[in-house]
């Protein structure tokens, strides 16, 4: 039993140490591999991507609360969020995007377990405050 506790504490210690270093470094966003997406001709995005100088749009999500779209080095649009505004958007979008049956089921779940309503916000909070990642999507038009 003591051995199990010892192993557990070592694992916790290593995690804490790694996170401590990450924290002391200012919790920089961890870059994930870039995802490439080619917009087919006829798509509403096609004309938009083709009209940019670099003929590609780069969408960068930094879970620190920033979503931006760029054309080469020129910023096109920037969206800044907090876990709260993210949660508000998800709840508002779910009113419009989810089918009525799904909305009714969710309403029942929220009634029984109110905490579930905050799940998108909790996930956003984790990636906003604790571990930050950067996801890049490069959109090209063929």
């Amino acid at each position: 039993m003591r051995r199990v506790i010892k192993v557990f504490l070592i694992i916790v210690g290593v995690i804490v140490l790694i996170y401590g270093v990450y924290f002391l470094m200012g919790r920089p966003a961890i870059s994930l591999p870039t995802y490439h997406y080619t917009v087919p001709q006829g798509s509403p995005l096609y004309d938009l991507v083709r009209s940019t100088k670099s003929e590609k749009v780069t969408v960068i999500l930094n879970t620190r609360g920033e979503l931006k779209a760029r054309d080469g080095t020129v910023d096109l649009i920037n969206l800044r969020y907090t876990p709260r505004s993210f949660n508000n958007t998800v709840l508002l979008a779910s009113e419009y995007l989810l089918p009525e049956d799904t909305q009714n089921t969710l309403a029942k779940i929220y009634k029984v377990v109110p905490l579930t309503k905050a799940v998108p916000g909790i996930i956003a909070t984790f990636f906003y405050h604790v571990v930050r990642v950067r996801l890049t999507v490069e959109i090209n038009a063929n």
């Binding site: 504490l9 916790v12 210690g13 804490v16 996170y19 401590g20 924290f23 004309d47 938009l48 083709r50 009209s51 940019t52 100088k53 979503l67 779209a69 054309d71 020129v74 910023d75 096109l76 649009i77 920037n78 969206l79 800044r80 969020y81 907090t82 709260r84 505004s85 993210f86 508000n88 958007t89 709840l91 508002l92 009113e95 419009y96 405050h129 604790v130």
Partner: protein, 275 residues
């Protein structure tokens, strides 16, 4: 055991430090409120007219464009007055109204909240009914007003409108979709689809503020993510989709916002342009 205590202390320290950092980050920075009664709502309207060709232009729009918007032709009596002047300038502030003709002072009316109240009473007695809510809102606007109307004799197209408003426009939409602004009935009805979109999402109020490229919004009092648009970026979208936005630079010099209440909902307020 000593080692266990050390690990626990380290864990606690990191958790505490994280907590402190998070609390520090969530501080909201509010803009310093300006002194009461100081002008905050700036509007610049430029009008040009040419008595020879009977052409006129308002805020960057030509006569043809204005007529397409339903603005009628100027009557002859107005042209008779206009051709006597090279320029007219009306400056409406929180403390005075100035009228200048050909760059010379013509008249000044000093006013304050009390004297404006007398004007509302006078309007009432002439049959122009203004509700108490409208008077209150009118006073909110006039106590911070810095409005300039510049009318000049010139064949060129007038300068675009400049809006820098810190006060949100109060817009009400009733069940039938009827639109009123600052308590005044506009006689305009929203398309039924717009009212349907609001009711299907349970939206009772929406607040929007555009401030020189930054768009803040709230729905039912809940803040949504802040959107920043860039002039170069918007130009790319304009070129691609042909939205017909006209002079894009103008949007990036303006600040304007509205608080919309649907079917008797409450109006929410927000700080414009705040990060």
């Amino acid at each position: 055991m000593n080692r266990l205590q050390k690990i626990l202390t380290l864990v606690l320290t990191i958790v505490l430090l994280s907590g402190l950092a998070i609390t520090h980050e969530s501080h909201i920075v509010n803009a310093l409120p300006s002194a009461e009664g100081e002008p905050e709502n700036y509007v610049f309207l430029d009008v040009t007219y040419d008595p020879e060709t009977k052409n006129y232009s308002l805020s960057g729009f030509s006569k043809d464009q204005l007529q397409q918007m339903g603005i009628p032709e100027l009557q002859d009596v107005i042209w008779v007055i206009l051709e006597r002047f090279e320029s007219l300038r009306l400056e409406l502030g929180n403390a005075a109204v100035n009228l200048k003709a050909d760059d010379k002072d013509l008249a000044t009316i000093n006013w304050d909240a009390e004297s404006r109240d007398l004007i509302y009473g006078l309007l009432d007695s002439y049959g122009v009914k203004i509700s108490d809510l409208s008077k209150e809102r009118l006073e909110t606007w006039l106590s911070k007003a810095d409005i300039v109307l510049n009318v000049r004799n010139s064949p060129e197209i007038s300068k675009p409108i400049v809006l820098d408003l810190s006060t949100l426009l109060m817009v009400d939409v009733n069940k039938e979709g009827k639109l009123s602004v600052e308590g005044f009935d506009t006689g305009v009805y929203l398309q039924p689809q717009v009212a349907d979109i609001a009711s299907s999402g349970g939206v009772t109020s929406a607040t929007l503020c555009w401030s020189k490229g930054i768009l803040n919004s709230m729905v039912n009092g809940n803040a949504l993510p802040q959107v920043t648009l860039y002039q170069d970026g918007l130009q790319v979208v304009e070129n691609a989709l042909g939205l017909g936005l006209g002079d894009i630079g103008l949007f990036f010099k303006s600040q304007v916002g509205a608080s919309v209440a649907f079917d008797g909902g409450t109006h929410e307020t927000m700080e414009c342009g705040q990060p």
